[in-house]
């Protein structure tokens, strides 16, 4: 593997999940020790055994898996491990003042004594970025910095990176989002299966070539064709509202239809999905599935009725990490029976679904903790295929998975819909929603403000609907 960063340049590192980008960045930041090879900076060999070594060498990393501690305050997190860097121990007031200054440079309006665990995931990412750039470093590594950010936060980040470039810093930028790389970076290094593929100047290549390099084969089209026709309504909410939802919601999902929910961050997407899945008690309205009223039944019975939830945090809510693929896939089916119902023999079906979804694993007894993000997501999808769900509620189905797995997931979602089922999906990536869905809803402040066909929708038109109207006052703070 080879990688060279130049001062004042932004160097992108791309590759599918499991290509080794994050591991490479962890080596540069001293978290993982290299087996062999050298790291040279300013003509000097670096020996990085500990994250502190990297820090002293002037390398600062913005980690993908947050290095923030949720029980500490923003200020404590920002200066953790380098409380004495300014020559003397900081007083509480000094700490707060320096934190506020650092935060305001990134247009963040967060009180320094706020507990990091009480912030939204986007704000946490911004704090992580603030912490990274606070360091007195000459090399900055950004590992998937935008995965959790809303678009205006991305703008702030990009301005920051441009400024670092102007100051002559070296930047390594790891991302799945090629559009960002093409606006931001000067060079691109492509990795595949832990190996160096090639390094090209951004000006001399295009997105298709880069994707080809990552996947190792040409990609004709990322998305499947949309549904030719939509059948009768499967899921219908009329003024439905859960306890945690700000407003009642009307929506329908038809047979064969994929409906997307777009919006800025934390506009009530999760509350909506969880309420439909039955994890939140009904406050008002009605919910029907295939004409049957399911307004008041609990989550376990909604599974039996044919609703499946693919939650955003696979690791916490979606999977039993210590169990194997078969147990994970069969868990929804098993949940249908009583406590002492016989567990049906599902081995055959499980293997069949694994083949259909192209789950990359030796066998059905592989623990899901050993799988990559994309394959884990396939296991969650497989669970609902096996349980015979009719309507899938998918939260961020491709978060943190690579392009190859994304394509596989799009294909499976479309195939699922074509078999007479429906899907409601949320995503932060507007291009994904436009490409994947048949119809798009825009959610703002808990209410659905727009309902348009996905065909012909543009990121621009969706964003315009998603942004609060100009005189809404303080609304932007929540975004």
């Amino acid at each position: 593997m080879q990688l060279t960063g130049l001062p004042g340049m932004c160097h992108a590192v791309v590759g599918e999940n499991g290509a080794g980008k994050s591991t490479l960045m962890k080596i540069l930041s001293g978290v993982v020790r290299p087996d062999r090879g050298r790291i040279v900076k300013d003509g000097e060999d670096l020996k990085l055994h500990h994250p502190l070594d990297a820090r002293h060498a002037g390398i600062s990393t913005i980690f993908q898996e947050f290095s923030l501690l949720p029980n500490l305050s923003v200020a404590e997190n920002l200066f953790l491990g380098r409380e004495g860097d300014i020559g003397h121990a900081m007083t509480r007031a000094e700490l707060a003042q320096r934190s506020e200054q650092a935060l305001s440079e990134l247009e963040l309006n967060i009180a320094p004594d706020r507990r990091v665990g009480s912030l939204g995931v986007g704000q946490q990412q911004m704090v992580e970025i603030t912490k990274g750039v606070l360091a007195d470093a000459s090399v900055f590594i950004f590992d998937e910095p935008t995965a959790a950010l809303a678009s205006h936060e991305v703008d702030v980040l990009f301005a920051l990176i441009e400024r670092l470039k102007d100051e002559g810093k070296t930047i390594f930028y790891v991302s799945h989002r090629l559009a960002e790389i093409f606006t931001l970076c000067d060079d691109i290094t492509i990795m595949k299966d832990g190996e160096f593929v090639r390094c090209v100047p951004t000006a001399l290549t295009n997105e298709d070539e880069v994707i080809e390099g990552m996947v190792g084969r040409p990609i004709a089209e990322l998305f499947e064709a949309r549904a030719a026709s939509i059948g009768p309504v499967l899921l219908e909410a009329k003024g439905y509202q859960g306890q945690a939802m700000k407003r009642p919601v009307d929506l329908t999902v038809g047979t064969g239809e994929i409906v997307g929910v777009a919006g800025l961050e934390a506009q009530g997407q999760q509350e909506l999905m969880r309420a439909l899945a039955g994890f939140d008690q009904r406050r008002g309205g009605s919910l029907t599935l295939q004409g049957k009223d399911i307004s008041d039944i609990e989550a376990r019975k909604r599974i039996a009725a044919g609703i499946g939830l693919v939650p955003e945090s696979r690791k916490d809510d979606g999977l039993f990490l210590s169990l194997d693929i078969a147990d994970n896939m069969q868990s929804a089916q098993v949940a249908r029976g009583g406590l002492f119902a016989l567990t049906p023999s599902l081995g055959e079906l499980t293997r069949d679904i694994m083949t259909r979804l192209a789950v990359k694993a030796p066998d059905a007894r592989t623990p899901v903790s050993d799988l990559s993000g994309g394959n884990q997501q396939k296991v969650v999808l497989g669970r609902w295929l096996l349980a015979g769900a009719h309507v899938l509620l998918c939260e961020e189905p491709t978060r943190g998975v690579d392009i190859g797995a994304k394509r596989e997931i799009y294909r499976q979602l479309r195939a699922f819909a074509q078999q007479g089922n429906g899907i409601l999906v949320t995503s932060r990536e507007l291009t994904e929603l436009i490409g994947l869905c048949d119809r798009l809803l825009v959610i703002r402040d808990g209410g659905i403000v727009s309902d348009v066909p996905a065909e012909g929708a543009t990121e621009d038109s969706l964003l315009r609907a998603a942004l609060p109207t100009s005189l809404d006052g303080g609304q932007t703070e929540a975004a």
Binding site: V31, H50, P51, L52, R55, F63, F66, S67, L68, L69, P70, N71, L72, S73, V74, E76, L80, G81, R82, E83, G84, A89, N109, I110, A111, D113, R114, R115, V116, G117, S118, G474, T476, E477
Partner: protein, 323 residues
């Protein structure tokens, strides 16, 4: 953009401010403590609110204060120390050996530090579960204590007798031990960068390490602190009893965890602190004292303590904490 986030309710601050969030349990414990004080002074009147009783209470509670504060460090670092009771026993055994006084005190401290280091290294580097590790050292240490001092007896160094049972400005010595231990531990946890690093390590040692914190050393240090606190408690008890007792520490081992847990320190680390532990220990002390003064069988204390531990652990949970 809105201006400052200054207009927040108390409930919001408790959830959102890192400091207050970590001390939520302590707040609740102090409320319960307040209710207990009110109840006891109303029903027991003069018998409770008397200088003799309060002096007694301070004298009795000092050892539990010391070990609970030490235990709080271990719990904050997401560890567990069951060996403190045995260390107390060992300390009293060493301090009543037939030896010159000048050697006994350093020897006792050195023994405690060794136990702490063994606990810490076993838990951190050998990856033995803290409960198993400290249970094992507890057995060894208690065994050594019994070998050195098979039956209660021996003579305590005179300096400890004075330091533990004398009075100063009309207040019993135990009171000063409590104040010193509480002030010192509050300062270390809330006033030094060691404190912040301890909270970070207890929450997630891996993240702490990524931030350049030597998480293994921090975790080992908590066991050493705990063992030293136990040794100081042992020294105090030796002085107070004016002789040694190889079984004196046994009850204090579990009570130290109870005291910290009642004060809102999570057994999973990273939340809580010495301020809450002060309230937790006082709750245990007032319970005993109240039963005693009301002429109720002291054995009820065990029933109540167990129930309180369950209540505390289910009340202060990680889920509630949103972590």
């Amino acid at each position: 953009m809105i201006g400052k986030e200054s207009h927040r309710s108390i409930a919001q601050r408790l959830q959102q401010d890192a400091f207050w969030f970590r001390q939520r349990g302590a707040l609740l414990s102090f409320m319960i403590l307040g209710l207990m004080l009110l109840f006891l002074s109303l029903f027991l009147g003069e018998r409770f609110v008397s200088t003799t009783n309060i002096a007694n209470l301070a004298g009795q509670l000092a050892p539990l204060f010391l070990v609970s504060l030490g235990q709080t460090f271990v719990l904050l670092g997401a560890g567990f120390d069951l060996s403190v009771g045995a260390v107390i026993s060992l300390t009293t055994a060493i301090l009543t050996l037939d030896f010159p006084d000048v050697f006994k005190l350093p020897l006792a401290i050195a023994a405690a530090v060794t136990v702490g280091l063994v606990n810490g290294v076993g838990c951190v580097y050998l990856r033995v579960h803290p409960i198993i590790m400290t249970l094992a050292t507890s057995s060894i240490v208690q065994g050594v204590a019994l070998i050195l001092l098979p039956t209660p007896g021996g003579i305590a160094p005179q300096v400890l007798v004075t330091a533990a049972s004398g009075t100063l400005f009309g207040l019993p010595a135990g009171f000063y031990w409590i104040i010193a231990a509480a002030a010192l531990s509050i300062w270390v946890v809330h006033g030094t960068k060691y404190g912040v690093r301890l909270y970070a390590t207890g929450e997630n040692p891996q993240s702490a390490w990524i931030n350049g914190i030597n998480a293994p050393s921090i975790r080992i240090s908590t066991y050493v602190i705990s063992a030293m606190c136990a040794a100081i408690a042992g020294a105090y008890l030796t002085g107070r009893l004016a002789s040694g007792d190889p079984n004196v520490g046994i009850a204090l081992g579990l009570d130290s965890i109870l005291g910290a847990a009642l004060g809102g320190t999570l057994l999973s680390g990273g939340v809580g602190g010495p301020i809450g532990t002060i309230a937790g220990v006082l709750i245990i002390g007032l319970l005993n004292n109240g039963l005693n003064l009301a002429n109720i069988s002291p054995y009820y204390q065990f029933v109540f303590k167990g129930a309180m531990l369950i209540a505390a652990v289910s009340l202060f949970r990680r889920k509630e904490a949103g972590l």
